[in-house]
């Protein structure tokens, strides 16, 4: 199965029944798969006129009660930012897949990159937070898509799944999880009287139940600052509460949201911090380094946002050197790792930004080379 196909299958497994999108390399196979499968499941596939309309349709469908998603790549993801902000502000559960390709702009349409990491976190104006997950294998394309929907539904937040082109287009043999094998979370629904329903009145867990448009609960969702009832409210105390709440519902559940995997980190002098396809380059480099007598381990960031700073810091304390391979020029992950490990750590970057893959040899050269 291909990575992109596994994302579509994972979404369907998670209960997604609405896809609106505009095809773009290297994400188009997700749209193709959804166009074949969703109508047969009573779901909806719509090819929209562009990415702005796509995310708008996804938000509308989600508010009408459907688990909804879209898939795109850099240029389309840029167009989605404004409405993605609306999804944050309106606390609309949805999943956006950004299969990362090399930019800037339309860049290298068929080549991989990991250069949207900061755009995923900060691409929208205003003070807000999202969750982002990054798969490194076809199996993870499936499982992390299910997790993405679960997080979106549980925390009423857009979740970005951020495979790179390599992982999206890669084919591997995978055992598709059986129904019931993976947990599937559905959003909380209101149970009280429709007249008393407040769409932004959070429960103890920081998340408010969400009704569906078209039912007996009539409610308002606005991109402007609003109160518990969803109607405009410009009171400073209300604004402060809203912004805090949008962050806190994620921060409070940070330990459930932050997912990492470690390989050979029990005894190590060198820690590799990786995500997506570079995880596999990193693991191959670490295996070779151990063969050459250098004890190396790998921390794979499955969750990229919120950033796994504590996990990086904890393993970083046990290492003499930290190496961050990533397919971008600017060291978007390395900057976050630096914050976590402090200014004194021997932190080395391995960057490629020409649309080609970081090899284990690239990493070994930096890891084993003199400072």
């Amino acid at each position: 199965m291909q990575g992109n196909q596994a994302i579509a299958e994972g979404a369907i497994y998670a209960g997604a029944r609405f896809y609106a999108g505009y095809p773009i390399t290297p994400s188009s196979e997700i749209a193709e798969e959804c166009s074949k499968k969703l109508p047969k499941l009573g779901g909806v596939y719509i090819q929209m006129e562009d990415e702005i309309a796509s995310i708008a349709a996804v938000i509308g469908a989600s508010l009408a009660g459907a688990k909804s998603f879209t898939a795109t790549s850099g240029p389309g993801f840029s167009l989605m930012q404004e409405n993605l902000g609306l999804a944050v502000m309106g606390e609309v559960p949805c999943v956006v897949v950004d299969v990362q390709r090399a930019g800037p702009s339309t860049g290298l349409a068929t080549r991989p990159a990991q250069s949207d990491i900061m755009q995923i976190r900060w691409g929208r104006h205003g003070d807000q937070s999202v969750i982002a997950l990054c798969p490194a294998s076809v199996r993870e394309c499936f499982t992390l898509t299910v997790t993405a929907f679960n997080f979106a539904e549980r925390y009423r937040v857009p979740v970005v799944l951020m495979p790179d082109e390599i992982v999206g287009h890669m084919r591997e043999n995978v055992e598709v999880p059986a129904p019931g094998e993976l947990e599937v979370v559905d959003r909380k629904r209101p149970s009280g009287s429709p007249a008393d329903y407040k769409p932004f009145k959070a429960d103890e867990d920081g998340v408010a139940p969400l009704a569906a448009y078209g039912g007996e609960y009539v409610f308002h969702v606005s991109s402007s600052m609003h109160g518990l009832d969803g109607y405009s409210n410009n009171d400073p105390a209300n604004a402060a509460w809203r912004v805090r709440q949008l962050h806190e519902k994620i921060d409070r559940h940070r330990d459930e949201i932050v997912l990492t995997k470690s390989f050979d980190t029990d005894d190590m002098d060198v820690l590799l911090v990786t995500l997506g396809a570079t995880t596999r380059s990193g693991r191959a480099a670490a295996i070779e380094a151990r063969r050459q007598g250098v004890r190396a381990g790998v921390l794979q960031l499955q969750t990229v946002w919120p950033f796994p700073d504590r996990e990086v810091a904890e393993l970083g304390r046990r290492a003499k050197m930290v190496v961050v391979p990533e397919m971008n020029y600017s060291g978007q992950v390395a900057g976050e790792v630096r914050k976590a490990v402090g200014p004194d750590m021997d932190l080395r970057r391995v960057n490629r930004y020409n649309g080609t893959i970081i090899t284990p040899q690239d990493i070994l050269a930096v890891m084993l080379g003199a400072r």
């Binding site: 390399t25 068929t110 890669m170 043999n173 596999r280 295996i287 893959i357």
Partner: protein
């Protein structure tokens, strides 16, 4: 030079390279899926340009009895090249003992003993099916290397194609297999 990996080999890496439109990524997928049918772990990756015709296009297939950590080919066991551009990209591997099968219709003749030329495109054209050169060449690669069983590949073709395309592709595969014996 005979270089048989056999279906019992633990770890095998294959590169299929040519130009966009020759269908080599499909060949890679068929090879990968055949190996899965034989119970192996497989990773198949690809690289191509923005045009649907032309430009370097390639598929990589890694087959292993255990976990495949790095997803890209590091040391190929066999390379198929269908254009001069692809041949130039990989020809240094021949000096390192890697067998390279090239399309003598489209690629200038090579003298290194690790190169073997086959008239893939000419043969496919003579059969009135130039577009099936990918399946024909896959038949040669498979027969030459034994990386998967020919029967498994035939099973994949029956699964993948419909109607008249099944027989036509099975025929191209068989012609490719027979080319390898020459």
């Amino acid at each position: 030079m005979e270089h048989r990996m056999t279906t019992e080999s633990k770890h095998v890496e294959v590169i299929l390279a040519g130009t966009g439109g020759q269908g080599l990524i499909l060949s890679g997928i068929l090879l990968a899926e055949a190996a899965i049918l034989e119970g192996k772990n497989v990773v198949q990756t690809q690289s191509y340009g923005i045009a649907s015709r032309g430009g370097l296009s390639l598929a990589e297939v890694i087959i292993d009895t255990g976990e495949i950590v790095f997803q890209q080919v590091q040391k190929p066991d066999c390379i198929l090249v269908l254009t001069e551009e692809a041949t130039k990209k990989y020809e240094t591997w021949a000096a390192k003992g890697v067998p390279i099968l090239y399309d003598s219709t489209l690629v200038n003749a090579r003298t290194d003993p690790n190169f073997t030329g086959y008239a893939f495109t000419q043969t496919a054209s003579d059969m009135g099916n130039a577009l099936s050169v990918n399946i024909l060449a896959l038949g040669t690669v498979t027969a030459k290397t034994g990386v998967v069983k020919m029967e498994t590949l035939e099973e994949m073709i029956r699964k993948r194609f419909k109607g008249a395309a099944v027989e036509m592709n099975l025929k191209m595969l068989a012609v490719g297999r027979d080319l390898a014996g020459r």
